[in-house]
């Protein structure tokens, strides 16, 4: 029921964010127009971490209380999280070339983000290695929880090491060191990404539940109503 609403709001926000980011915001005095990558880079990077935390939490809930919905949700998160991580890496790389003069360096933030991608891939590979869905869900939840350690490392890496990567510009609580005209589109984009994620994850989860419950009565009833009779 929720998905159409979510997707409309999401589309609107995306358009607004794109307008704000590409047209409204002034060019950066140091980086010129290239800074506009921020509007895809930073939301993806944030989402990559956010989704992981969500996935691990849901996995943990499923592991402890054996709640099916949580298991399904965690499983549906993984491909999206991996996509966001990939985007963060790719757009970061595309930004790094003009800014740092290189596509890639082995610096702490970049590396830990790469590790995050591997974690997602490992999680998905582990999920598909089992045939029993519940066993798969529980085993991969353990992995997700163990990998959670990486999230703070990603976030604080810029503080702990001297790195090439930008320090906290937006997430400083007191005073973001970024112009307000640049900030607003960024926040809109971030929100749009978040809604996008929830929309897709809902769609995914539904399919997943259908497959999970293939032995139960309500699924056969549901399908009977709609199609089997045809």
């Amino acid at each position: 029921m929720l998905t159409p609403w979510l997707s409309w709001i999401c589309a609107l926000l995306l358009i607004a964010g794109l307008y704000g980011g590409l047209i409204y915001a002034p060019p950066d005095y140091q980086q010129g127009e290239s800074f506009r990558i921020i509007y895809v880079h930073v939301p993806s990077a944030w989402m990559s971490m956010f989704v992981y935390v969500l996935m691990a939490t849901a996995g943990g809930v499923g592991l402890i209380w054996h709640i099916k919905i949580a298991e399904v949700f965690a499983k549906s998160c993984a491909p999206l999280g991996a996509s966001f991580t990939f985007l963060a890496l790719a757009t970061g790389s595309l930004w790094g070339k003009p800014m740092w003069g290189t596509w890639w360096v082995w610096d702490a933030r970049l590396t830990s983000e790469l590790i995050l991608l591997f974690l997602y891939l490992g999680y998905m590979a582990l999920q598909s290695a089992f045939d029993d869905r519940r066993v798969a869900a529980r085993a991969s939840a353990v992995l997700a929880l163990v990998g959670l350690i990486n999230i703070p490392i990603i976030h604080y890496s810029v503080e702990w090491w001297s790195t090439l990567h930008q320090g906290a510009t937006v997430t400083k609580l007191d005073a973001p060191s970024i112009h307000i005209d640049m900030l607003i589109p960024l926040l809109i984009m971030a929100l749009a990404f978040k809604l996008y994620f929830f929309t897709i994850v809902l769609i995914r989860s539904r399919t997943e539940i259908l497959e999970y419950e293939c032995n139960s009565k309500w699924v056969s009833d549901l399908l009977n109503e709609t199609e089997v009779s045809k």
Binding site: D131, D132, C214, N215
Partner: protein, 223 residues
Amino acid sequence: MKPLNTTYNNAGKATGESGFEVSGLECIRQDIILFQDISFKLQSGDLLQVDGVNGSGKSSLIRILAGLMQPSAGEISWRGRNISECRYQYQKEMSYIGHLNGVKNTLTADENLEIMKALSGSPQSIPLSEVLAKLELGGMDGITLNRLSAGQKRRVGLARLLVTNSKIWLLDEPFTSLDSSGKSVIEQLIVEHSLQGGITVFSTHQPVEIEGCSIRHIHLGKK
């Protein structure tokens, strides 16, 4: 043959409380329902044989009873409590022997028994040589298991029953590779165990000759 195991850990508590109770058990593997709505009660001295064709879910049932697998639905309780609540206490009173012997091929019979003993944490010590003699393995103690025959290895695996001294025995095809005398040794062990108030659940495809106590049957799969 003298009975070796005359007392059980926590044997005192048994009185008054119910024994082993299974209700509404269901097992689904690879989206196929193996069994559904299995319920039974086992009291001290009961003997249950699980029957069914290959792949009907006998091993799955026994593993679920052992607490190795989670059932898709249903409950198993021991002394009135769900076995996943009192897991370690239950395990201390239970011995499971599956298709695999759970012994190390590169160690000797002696060393394997010592590991079993250390892991079971059972306090009283039956001399290991006596255990081996009872299983007709006398003189085999210093030989690593990869130099024993299949039946001799199975006997070392089954020695766990004598070493750990527990009240519930869950035996998945215990007679595999045993000759007829080995088979009757185990059958006799089961009878003794039952007479002393132990509970045994076992599966086998071979005809069983047990005298002195009655066997209940449960049949899995289509008839």
